[in-house]
């Protein structure tokens, strides 16, 4: 099986501080086209326009939360196969089971370490290439 490279990434969080930490952590990924969005609505438009390989999605956002954005993405034919990773502080067993049932590919726990953030994303991308299924 040929592995595809990760070429584009969309990160969504309404918290500017979290996005700043993410940007800092992703400096290593110079060859990847990374877009940052501050809201669910903006994320859907951005995803439709650029069709990222991978979407990192904050769960708790005002107006449209991450779960709603995820449901919309899954309904859009051009995006329905795009893996979505939740950025969340809620990672108790029952919460992880809930995300898995929704069809989320995986989660990255908040707060994340900017020093290992890019490696974590690349590992999850490799995992998706290998298994392509929810965690």
């Amino acid at each position: 099986m040929t592995k595809a490279n990760l070429n584009s990434l969309l990160i969504v969080d309404d918290d500017s501080d979290i996005l700043a930490i993410a940007k800092y952590g992703l400096q290593k990924l110079a060859n990847i086209n990374i877009k940052y969005c501050h809201s669910g609505e903006e994320a859907i438009l951005e995803a439709l326009a650029h069709k990222p390989d991978l979407i990192l999605l904050d769960v708790t956002m005002p107006e449209m939360d991450g779960i709603t954005v995820f449901h919309v993405i899954k309904l859009l034919p051009t995006l329905s196969n795009t893996p979505v990773i939740f950025l969340t502080g809620r990672v108790q067993k029952e919460e992880l089971n809930h995300y898995a049932k929704l069809g989320i590919f995986d989660v990255i726990i908040k707060p994340f370490d900017p020093l290992t953030f890019s490696d974590a994303i690349l590992q999850l991308w490799d995992k998706f290439q290998m298994h392509g299924a929810a965690f």
Binding site: D15, D17, G89, R90, V91, Q92, P111, P114
Partner: protein
């Protein structure tokens, strides 16, 4: 009878006589040089405006970030969203601009877990200082019908924060819920244990003896129930009155708590008193040792 004797023995083994007295400090400014913190551990800092954390972490300091669980003010980035959700209850007369929050609303807990706490911990803080839960407990005491569930919500918040993040936790007061959350926290802070500050008269004062002793009873009960719990005190007094500072430190140490005394405005760095006269016994259970 034998059981009772064993119980008494357990109590005597858990008296606070072995409390270690390393200095600790709380500081809500950002101007103090990092070297000023060398003697202290743990260090409680404001989570928005603080000295650089990395040099403190490099020195293996335990640095706890301030987290107001029950109030918000316009200085908080999330104030408007909490207001929009109609979660504000009333303004704090002692701190104008600071509003109590309806902590029973699941939105607040979720916001804490998903936004505020990750924002604090991602800066490098090794733990959290949970403040102002007394505000929520007092609301339910004042109007049990209207604010029913505030105490339960406070307990749930502390449980959840411990469970989700597993970081070191210092809780300020909230003595009434100590029996329920003692396992979730590492440190209990007795703010204004011996002295306090009157906001209307703008004067420092010694608390009535009955209030002081009631607090000590709560703290000693918690210590017996949760032997891992380290008890700290934070008293306020005019920093120019050095004699009173010595007296407060001596009284608090006599009651086996780890004291710190400061001006009411914690943005001013007031050096702690060093317990040269107190033998610094090593306590393998003291997690705050540098």
């Amino acid at each position: 009878m034998i059981h009772f004797a064993v119980f008494l023995l357990f109590l005597s083994l858990n008296t606070p006589s072995e409390e270690v007295k390393f200095p600790w400090v709380v500081y809500y400014g950002d101007q103090a040089p990092v070297e000023a913190f060398d003697p202290y551990n743990p260090i409680v800092l404001d989570s928005k405006s603080h000295p650089p954390l990395k040099p403190l972490l490099d020195k293996k300091k335990e640095v706890l970030g301030y987290l107001n669980l029950a109030e918000t003010s316009q200085e908080d980035a999330w104030f408007q969203s909490i207001k929009d959700k109609q979660l504000l209850i009333k303004e704090n007369p002692s701190w104008p601009g600071s509003w109590s929050i309806n902590i029973r609303d699941p939105y607040w807990e979720n916001f804490l877990i998903e936004k505020i706490i990750p924002g604090i911990l991602s800066q490098g803080f090794t733990g959290l200082f949970l403040d102002q839960l007394d505000v929520s407990l007092d609301l339910e005491k004042q109007d049990p019908e209207k604010y029913k569930g505030m105490t339960a919500a406070a307990i749930h918040l502390v449980h959840t924060i411990h469970k989700q993040f597993g970081k070191r936790i210092m809780m300020n007061r909230a003595y009434e819920i100590l029996p329920q959350v003692g396992e979730d926290i590492d440190y209990e802070l007795a703010e204004t244990l011996y002295t306090s500050y009157h906001f209307e008269t703008k004067q420092y004062y010694v608390r009535p003896k009955a209030e002081f002793e009631w607090q000590l009873q709560q703290l000693n009960s918690a210590r017996r129930l949760f032997p891992h719990l380290v008890i700290f005190s934070l008293d306020y007094w005019d920093p120019k009155d050095k004699e009173m500072y010595k007296k407060i430190y001596a009284i608090e140490r006599k009651n086996c708590v780890r004291p710190y005394v400061s001006a009411i405005v914690l943005g001013e760095f007031v050096p702690g008193e060093f317990p040269q006269d107190v033998p610094q016994k090593e306590n393998k259970d003291d997690k705050s040792k540098p």
